[in-house]
C-alpha cells in the first residue's frame, strides 16, 4: 500500500466526491457535510454504477443508477440490499488529500 496524493481538499465539494483514476480502476473520494473523507472503489456492488456521481447524505451515498444506498464507512449496501465495495484509508495533510492504494 502507498499513500497517493488526490488533490487539494478544497477541490472536493462538501456532500460530493472527486474521481481518482488508478491502475485498478477509479476510486471515489467522498467528502461529507461534516468534512469526513472516505475513499471507495467507484463501483456500486449492484451494477457497477459510478458511486462518485451519487447524492451524498450523512455518511452514505446513493448510487445514481438504481438508488442503492452505500455506507461510506464500510462500503456495504444498506439493508435490505446486500453487497460490498472496497474501501481505502484516506488522510489530509496540509490541505492535501492522500488515499492509501494497493501498489501496482
Amino acid at each position: 500500500m502507498s499513500w497517493c496524493p488526490a488533490g487539494g481538499l478544497s477541490q472536493i465539494p462538501a456532500r460530493g466526491a472527486r474521481v481518482l483514476k488508478t491502475g485498478n480502476g477509479n476510486v471515489a473520494v467522498f467528502r461529507t457535510f461534516d468534512d469526513k473523507l472516505f475513499a471507495l472503489a467507484d463501483r456500486c456492488p449492484h451494477r457497477q454504477g459510478p458511486l462518485s456521481q451519487g447524492i451524498v447524505h450523512g455518511t452514505k451515498v446513493t448510487c445514481p443508477l438504481h438508488d442503492w444506498v452505500i455506507d461510506l464507512s464500510t462500503g456495504s449496501a444498506v439493508a435490505p440490499d446486500s453487497g460490498c465495495t472496497s474501501t481505502y484509508p484516506v488522510k489530509v495533510e496540509d490541505g492535501l488529500v492522500y488515499v492509501d492504494l494497493p501498489n501496482g
Partner: protein, 824 residues
Amino acid sequence: MKSKLVLVGNGMAGMRAVEELLKLEPEMYDITVFGAELYGNYNRILLSPLLAAENTLDDIMLNPTSWYDDNGITLHAGKTVTTIDRAKRSVTADDGTNVPYDRLILATGSHPFMIPVPGIELDGVVSYRDVDDVNKMLASAKDHTNAVVIGGGLLGLEAAYGLQKQGMNVTVVHLLDSLMERQLDKAAAALLKASLEKRGLRFEMEAETKAILGASRVESVQFGDGWEIPADLVVMAVGIRPNIDLAKSAGVYCERGIVVNDSLQTYDPRIYAVGECVQHRGDCYGLVAPLFEQAKILANHVAEYGYSRYEGSMVSTKLKVTGIDVFSAGDIVGDGKTEEVLFQDPAKAIYKKLLIKDQKITGAVLYGDTADGARIFQMIRDGIDVSETRDDLLFTHHSVGDSGTAGVSSTTSMTANTEICGCNGVCKGTIVETIVSKQLFTLDDVRQHTKASSSCGSCTGLVEQLLADTLGGDYSVSAAKKSACPCTEFTHDEIRRAIREQELKSIPDVMAFLDWTTSDGCHKCRPALNFYLLCAWPGEYRDDAQSRFINERAHANIQKDGTYSVVPRIWGGVTSPAELKAIAEVAQKYDVPTVKFTGGQRLDLLGVKKEDLPGVWGDLNSAGLVSGHAYGKALRTVKTCVGSEWCRFGTQDSTGLGIKLERMAWGSWHPHKVKLAVSGCPRNCAEATIKDFGVVCVDSGYELHVGGNGGIKIRATDFLCKLETEEEVLEYCGAFLQLYREEAHYLERTAPWIERVGLATIKTVIVDDAERRAQLHARFLRSQSFSQHDPWAEHATGEKAMTFMPIDALRQERAGECAEGSTQ
C-alpha cells in the same frame, strides 16, 4: 434516570407503537411490555394462512423474544395485568409482578364475542382470535369431519375456508340473509355466496343459533326452528368487542371502547391507548391499517413531539380467500342523497358499485374485478371531485394502455412464476414469499425488499393486489398521511406550507424547523427541498447543486456505463444547416459513439465521457446552441408540426407558437419533467394530447389540453379551455406551469397531479379566475427572469469545468509525487 413506559398488551398495535417510538426516541424510556400470551408479538392477520397450513407460527412472528432483549425491553410474557394503581402509577400482574410507570399504554385488544347460548362451554367450541384457537382448530381437523362456523362475516368466511382446506365439511351459519353485510351489498354478497358454494362450503342463512348440543364434546348445532346440523367443531366468529375490562376497573373512562382523544390519550393524561380496545370519535377499529396509523401518532406524542393528530381512518377490506376478488371501502349503504353508479357483467361474475355524494365517492363494492380497488380507495380518502370523470370511473383503468404488465390486471389467476415487475424481473411467487417471510405490510416495504414497483411503478396496482391477497383487507395501504421520506413525519404539502409561512430559506433551516430525524437528509428529501425552496424564493434561494441528482449537476444524462448523453435545445424542433454542422463536428471531434433523434424532435449525442462535457458544451455554445435540459426535472421540449406555414391542413402557425412557448418556458425547474406540444390542426401530428401541456390549433383559435402522458401509464390530456389569441395561450401556459410548480409534489408528473387534485380544481384557478391566472403568470415570468441562463455556458470553462476532471493517480505517481510508504 429514564422515564418508565409500560405497555399492557403485546399485540400488533401496542408493539407497533413501541417500534415507532424507538425510531423517534430510542433512549427516552425504560420500556416494559406485558403480554397475556406466551409468545412474542405475532402477525395476527396471518392466522388465516396459518389455519390453511400455508404458514407456520415461526413464519408469522413479528418480534421474537430475542428482539425484546436486543432493544433493552423487559417482556413479561404469559402474565396478565390485573390492576392499575393510578395514584401510585403502577401496574400489577396476576403473578404479583408490580411495575411502576410514568406513562402507560393500554393495548389490550379485543375479545371475541361469544353468543350467549347453552353449550358454548363444550369441548370443540372455539373462537377465532389467537394462535391457541388455531391450534385447537387444526387438532380438530385431524380427527373430525364436520365443522360449523357461526358468523358469515370476513373472519367467519376466512375460518371456514381454512377449515375446508384442512379437509373438513364446513357449514357457515349466518343470522342475516346476506354474507359480509357490513362490507357488501346484496348483489355482491350473492355472487360471493355462489362462488363459495362452488368451492364446497355450505350455508345456513337467516339461521339463529339456539343451542350447541353434546355430552362433553359438541355434537350438533340447533337452530330456532328446532332444526339441527351435526358438528364436531364449532367456530364462533360473530364479531369482536373491545377489551376494556382493565381500563374500566381502574376507572379510566370507557364507552364501547377506551375513549381517547386525537393524540390517543385517555381521560387520564398519563395513560394512552391504542388498537382494537380504543374508541376514537365514536369509532372502534378491528383492522390493522388504522391501528398502525394510531400507533404512529401515539409514538409521536409519547416521544413528546406532540404535533400529529389522529383524525380517524377510512377502512377498506378484502377477503383473504384464494381466487375470489372482493373489495369494499367506505360507506356502502348511503342515504337519500347518495347516487349509485353500477357496472354489472353476470356472465363474467363482475359487479362494481360506487356510491357518490356531492360529486365525491363515499363508498365502493367491487366483486370479480378489484384491480381498481386501491385507486378508488385513494379517491375516497382524498375526497376527489369526480364530476368530470364519473361516467368512466368503473371501467378498469389499471390495465388500459399500461406498459410492462402484459395487459394483465388481476393477480389471483396468475401462477407463481408470472412476472409482475417488468423493470426488475420480479415474479408473483417471489413477492408473495417475501411479504410472508419478511413480514411486510406496505407497498414501500415490498419495494424495498423485492424492488418490484420501485422503478417505473406501472405494476404498483398489481403489487398492491398481491399485498391484499396475502394479508387480506388488513394490509396497510399507504397511510392517509404520507410523509415525504423516512427522514420526516411531514407530508409534501406540509413542508411546502412551512417553507412559505415560516419563511424558511435553506435546506438546514427546513430540517431544523420540521425536526428532521436525520442530520443531513437523504437522496429523496434533499432534491425535493431544493426544488421547493427554489420555487418559493426565486432569485433569493441559492441552488444547492449537491442536493440535485447527478444529471442536474452534470447537465447531461448519466448512462448505464457512466458516460453521459448531451441534447442541445432545438427551439420548437426547427434547426438549421449551421446548427446541424456544429453538432456533427462535435460528434466527430469527441468521438461520440451514437447520434440519435429523440422523440422530442432533437438530437441526442450518446456516450460522451464526463471529462469531455465542458469541451462539448463550449463547442456547441459557440455555434449558438444551448442546453436542452433533457436531463432535468425541467421544461424539456416543445414539439410542433409545421402548421399553416407549409401544411395544406394547417389552421394556425403552430411552429411559431411552439417556439414562443419554448422561449417563455425554457430553463424553468419543475416537480418533474414537463413536455409541451403544439399541433396545427386536429390531426394532431405533434401528439399534443399526450403532453403535460398541449395546444391543438383549430380554425377559430386554440384548444388547450393538460395532464397528458405517453409513458408507463398512458393518459390522454383533459381539455382545459379554448382561446382565441396566441397571447392568451402564453398567459394560460405560464399560469398552468406555475400552478404545477407551486402545488404538485416533487416527482409527481402533471398527470397524477391532476388526478389527485381533480381537473375541476385546476379549471377554477386557471380558467375561471382571471386575477389568480394573471398572478400565477406574473410569478412564473419573475421566476424565469432568474432561471433563464444556459448552464452549459457556465460550466464550459473555468473552475466549474475543472470539477468534471478526474485526478489521475498514475500521472501523479509518474511525477514522483506518490509518498511511498509514508505513515498515517
